[in-house]
């Protein structure tokens, strides 16, 4: 039974649980709903949940565990030293799975009988050709071990699928039976449903956390591999970035970090005052009519893909800055520059800051404004002395979020700042950032196991640490402020 079909069956059982749970609860009190502990709907949901959730959990666990168990079983087909090496085992298992799937396809297409698929050996002629005939392309000729393993894989998988279906259905039916047995007028279905809802909410919140942990773990392990091939101290403090795929690369972080921070700084100098002033105008001065026109217009910017901004930087802003500022002042002759990328990222971040700050300013209670106006303060005095201090924690948070975005921006810097890793103070010079280099080190036809490629993970880790640091700093600022005034 396929997983999809199994889930449909579970759905049907859930509906049955819904109907039966409700019916049974009503029957137990002879239809007098006032004698029920909970509303009838709760008994219905309880029936549905008990039929569906435990079975679904078992199914999920089974789906995770089965491939791991099968892999263990197949270890006998291969020499131990091949199987112990992580990357070789992964390749082998991919081959096995591919051949097994090929056999499945061949059986389905009628090119092989199910019997043949189980017994075919390399002696019977080229397996690669026969599978190729039904559209399954294999990279190399199939070795006898892989073919044997694939056949064993198919057998195990089909046994597994049968067991999976049986166990899942048993659990579902048991859950349903349990729900019906326990349902009577006194059963507190409402509380049980509440507990399930709580569980679902907690699960949802852990997914994001687990993903973050997963990302950090994978980055960390690759970073550690990188540090075993390239001295980590040279990475952290190196002043030159010169990767060369023939070896002897210099992979110093500092020029990239400098470019990243410099561009972000320019971006924030543009975005923070503009965004904040926009927000203050919208929240405190603009009439409702003006606000209803301007706010959506500003937010349109947020919807423009960053690639388009990159084009704008490349085609318009860059040449403009070069011809009107850099060349006349003798500061440079390049269209791609820190200024170009910084300005454009800054503009991109204006609506981000302004709409967050606008919400935060609007959340400041009207009574504080009244209090200030009632003492004879003007609008701008009220904004400066009462509203901004009250909104400060939120605004700092918004600014730091925008800073993380600027630091992580990739497309605009690729097109607007150039690709030259340089340590320079001149903002009209082309520079590059961590994100650009992550992309350029990972794309391209290079061996995965070289420091030149793995440095991308170390760079990613660096970015992660920077943004994490920013966020912790933001929390600290907010907390310090709160302690003072609440």
């Amino acid at each position: 039974m396929s997983v999809f079909f199994l889930i449909i069956v579970l759905g049907v059982l859930a509906i049955a649980g819904f109907v039966l749970g409700r019916g049974r609860a009503l029957a137990s009190v002879q239809g007098n709903t006032r004698r029920l502990h909970s509303l009838p709907g709760y008994y219905a949901w309880h029936g549905a949940i008990m039929a569906f959730l435990p079975a679904m959990a078992v199914l999920t666990l089974w789906l995770i565990a089965q491939p791991l168990i099968i892999e263990r079983q197949l270890a006998d087909y291969f020499p131990a030293e091949q199987f112990e090496n992580d990357s070789q085992r992964i390749l082998l298992m991919a081959d096995v799975r591919r051949v097994a799937e090929g056999l499945d396809v061949a059986v389905a297409a009628g090119a092989l009988t199910p019997q043949d698929a189980e017994t075919i050996t390399v002696a019977d002629g080229s397996v690669r050709e026969r599978l190729g005939a039904v559209g399954v392309a294999l990279g190399a000729e199939v070795t006898p071990e892989v073919l044997d393993a694939a056949q064993s894989y198919r057998a195990l998988a089909s046994t597994g699928a049968l067991g999976r279906a049986i166990v899942t259905l048993i659990v579902a039916l048991a859950g349903l039976a349990y729900a019906l047995r326990i349902t009577n007028g006194d059963f507190r279905a409402r509380n049980r449903v509440e507990a399930v809802i709580l569980g679902v909410l907690i699960l949802a919140s852990t997914i994001a956390i687990l993903t973050t942990i997963g990302i950090v773990m994978s980055m960390l392990s690759e970073t550690i591999r990188f540090s075993s091939m390239y001295p980590f101290k040279d990475f952290l403090f190196g002043l030159t970035w010169q990767p060369s795929f023939q070896g002897g690369s210099e992979l110093g972080l500092i020029p990239l970090l400098w470019g990243t921070l410099y561009i972000s700084l320019v971006a924030m100098i543009v975005a923070v005052p503009t965004g904040l002033f926009t927000a203050i105008y919208l929240a405190e001065y603009a009439s409702p009519r003006v606000r209803s026109i301007i706010k959506p217009l500003i937010e349109v910017i947020a919807g423009i893909p960053t690639v388009v901004f990159g084009l704008f930087a490349l085609v318009t802003v860059g040449p403009f800055l070069r011809d009107w500022f850099a060349v006349p002042t003798g500061l440079g002759s390049s269209g791609s520059s820190v200024m170009t990328a910084g300005l454009v990222i800054g503009v991109l971040n204006i609506p981000f800051i302004s709409s967050l700050a606008d919400d935060i300013i609007n959340a400041v209670p009207q009574s504080l404004r009244d209090g200030s106006y009632g003492l004879g303060a003007t609008k701008s005095e009220t904004v400066r002395q009462v509203i901004l201090p009250a909104a400060l924690p939120g605004i700092v948070g918004a600014i730091l979020l925008a800073a993380s975005r600027a630091i992580g921006e990739t497309m605009i810097v690729t097109m607007g700042a150039g690709a030259a890793a340089k340590l320079d103070l001149n903002p009209f010079e082309a520079m590059t950032t961590i994100t650009v280099k992550i992309v350029s080190q990972l794309t391209g036809d290079t061996e995965f196991n070289s420091p030149e490629t793995l440095v991308a993970f170390a760079l990613g880790m660096t970015l992660f640490v920077i943004t994490l640091g920013l966020n912790i700093f933001a929390l600290w600022v907010v907390r310090k402020y709160r302690e003072q005034y609440e």
């Binding site: 004879g376 201090p389 609440e486």
Partner: protein
């Protein structure tokens, strides 16, 4: 017989501070106040009473143009402060509000220290020339609001960290520190316990020496205790206005009598 000479002396001492003639207030299309005529005297406590929603706060906000901050509110008619129309184009509402201070129904201290809350008005209006002078204003305002003893050791702490009643007295101190000529108080005691209420009432009585005080209240006893003049509002109309003693003992309008005796409200 004994009251008459007293009344006489008081009236001779006081002159009219605010004159309102034919005041109409609209929120959008809805009229909230009709044809209000009132003379508010200097050095007098005037109480506004009336059932909820009758327009007391609305009228109070007209007196310092706080209605300007409500986008759909519109005020017609004439309100004179010392003979000058406050709705005249030449009058700056910001300047006006420094002269006509306001304490709100809900305490609304700023998220600043206690000291900075009280110093806010004097700083904005440049009332002091030195830190010592400012310290003095802060202290005397807090004393007037009967809060000094409780906060003198914690002036640097947040004003929002005080209890509700202390916050309200802080707001009163804040308004007093700006040295207004008229003080408008919208139900200033609704968040206070009886002890703090008594302190605020005592304060109001003291303030009368230097300002004209207008207070909105739902407590008949309070109106009777603190005010010399009382105005009764009902459904957007000013029904009756006169000496407090007169209104509470011998109202001329049957609606006033019903309200005071608790039959409408």
């Amino acid at each position: 017989m004994y009251d008459a000479p007293n009344l006489e002396t008081r009236v001779t001492q006081t002159n009219t501070k605010i004159t309102a003639r034919g005041v109409q207030v609209y929120y959008g299309d809805k009229q909230a106040l009709q044809d209000v005529d009132v003379d508010i005297l200097d050095n007098t406590v005037t109480a506004f009473i009336g059932p909820s929603g009758c327009g007391k706060s609305t009228f109070l906000r007209c007196l310092n143009r706080m209605n300007d901050t409500i986008s759909n509110a519109r005020v017609e008619g004439e309100i004179l402060l010392d003979g000058e129309n406050i709705y005249d184009k030449r009058v700056d509402p910001v300047q006006l509000r420094a002269k006509v201070g306001m304490v709100f129904q809900k305490p609304n201290p700023f998220p600043k220290s206690i000291y900075d809350n009280v110093a806010y008005g004097p700083k904005i209006h440049g009332l002091t020339r030195s830190k010592a002078e400012l310290d003095e204003i802060v202290e005397s305002s807090l004393r007037k609001a009967a809060l000094w003893k409780e906060v003198k050791d914690r002036l640097g702490e947040a004003g929002t960290g005080l209890s509700g009643g202390q916050q309200q007295r802080l707001c009163i101190a804040r308004a007093v520190a700006t040295a207004p000529e008229v003080l408008l108080m919208d139900e200033p005691c609704s968040a206070l316990d009886p002890i703090a209420t008594a302190q605020v009432e005592e304060l109001i009585d003291e303030l009368r020496a230097s300002f004209s005080v207008v207070i909105v209240t739902h407590s008949m006893q309070q109106a009777a205790r603190v005010s010399q003049k009382t105005a009764f509002f009902h459904l957007g109309n000013l029904v009756e206005y006169g000496d407090t003693s007169h209104i509470f003992t011998n109202p001329s309008d049957p609606r006033t009598e019903s309200y005071i005796t608790g039959r409408i409200g």
